[in-house]
Symmetry: C2
Subunit: 300 residues, 2 copies
Amino acid sequence: MKDLLVIGSVALDTIKSPSGCAREILGGSATYFSISASFFTRVNLVATVGMDFPDRYRKLIKGFSVDTKGLETKNGRTFRWEGSYVEDLNCARTIDTQLNVFAEFRPDIPREYKDNKYLFLANIDPDLQLFILRRFKGSKFTGCDSMNYWIQTKRASLKKLMSKVDAIFLNDNEAKMFSGESNMLKAGRHLVSLGPRYVIIKRGEYGSLLFSKDGAFSAPAYLLDRVCDPTGAGDTFAGGFMGYIAKTDNLSPQNMKKALLHGTVMASFAVENFSVNRFLKIKKKDIETRYKDLRRLITP
Amino acid sequence: MKDLLVIGSVALDTIKSPSGCAREILGGSATYFSISASFFTRVNLVATVGMDFPDRYRKLIKGFSVDTKGLETKNGRTFRWEGSYVEDLNCARTIDTQLNVFAEFRPDIPREYKDNKYLFLANIDPDLQLFILRRFKGSKFTGCDSMNYWIQTKRASLKKLMSKVDAIFLNDNEAKMFSGESNMLKAGRHLVSLGPRYVIIKRGEYGSLLFSKDGAFSAPAYLLDRVCDPTGAGDTFAGGFMGYIAKTDNLSPQNMKKALLHGTVMASFAVENFSVNRFLKIKKKDIETRYKDLRRLITP
């Protein structure tokens, strides 16, 4: 088991979904990622919040044994995001984004994390992702996420980033947008040609695809009879994937496929309740049970 | 290897797709189904065409060793359908439908087919499907397809039909519409509760789901770098599924999963060219190769 460092956002979300409305709940890419990964390995979190960040949320994150030494409190308000899934559970409609202290995020990485071999750069400015990556030359496995905004505004930086990370996580629309290919196989191949060893394409309720020079692996989503709030599913998925890799410390192609299935399982829990609430109710045994269910779902 | 009987439509299609436009090409549910299934077992086709049906198309179907004794020629014009995939490769926009002789389709099933143990009722009026089914009381495995039109207009008949067949093939929108459930797991469970032993939900480029009382199995679509024309993919899929079951004459739950994968492989060929043209170029070896590829795609 190795330490896994994640750098990203901790936020306060307001979510409208067919299941109801939740205000100022704990969100953010690094939150979902770190809590998901904490079920597999030791996780170190680097993010920034404002003076208004509720102490109970900091305690909640710490409760999952996530190391929060790198969770800085800055003068100002915490990053806020408001979104709705009322029209379409598979696609968030952003109502409001207030970056607040996150706009000036310049992560100050605690010295004791400098030797972390497993690193995840959640969705932030790709130039900042590149800057951080340069400080982890000795890393063993690095992953990153991005979003449509950076694809549109910082394409060159993102392309450079892709050539330097081991795994890039994008959703299907982002993969199509970045590659300019509407065909998923062509999009995956194009992204692999840019340098990352693994390209992971997230397809929401349809599962995910893992592309590498060795070929492709397809995983369906875990079948749920109710989805409450899809927020953070992608980051939870990445947290399960990276957490499993760091736990097993095994970079074989076969282990990547198992990691994809563990990411799938973790995402299935995330969407069953608002915020990270579902993770307060599960144990490692529940993860194992769903992993077995998922294996059955894909075994001919 | 057992005989497989299919009752459905033979049509002349005019298709617009991003790959171009094709006029008056061979189409119809029973055409796609029978040619796909012919790679696995002996297929008997029951359908109707008009006086204008080109002889070369009849020869083309016969060329796949499909028995066309039940392909009746009636006074009138052949069923025509015109559709476009220019806006969305995953969803046909119907431009024109002319039922012609198909409107009065009352299948006259050749006596020598009466003992066929494997039967597929392609998309026709559910009352007609029920009528035919009653004449095959001794069947071993029966499958049927339907469409949104019948769900809206003949719901009760369709429900009755479902309680009498072994396998029902629907696409995801039809499954949601019929069950009134937007959640796929709930939709699948609801359909299974109506009586069919197997519910197969087709999800286009996202693959398919097989539901039964024993649980679910998920298969991705075969990854293609180019889709020319998705017309007939669902019928080709059902043809591969039913053809494989009839060939192996094995009704075990595990064989159903293999059948689903064979259906997936056959559908992947169908969409690579207009009409059934792709099947003129493949051999059994090509099916085996894609089947192995597909197994690799889903094996962790």
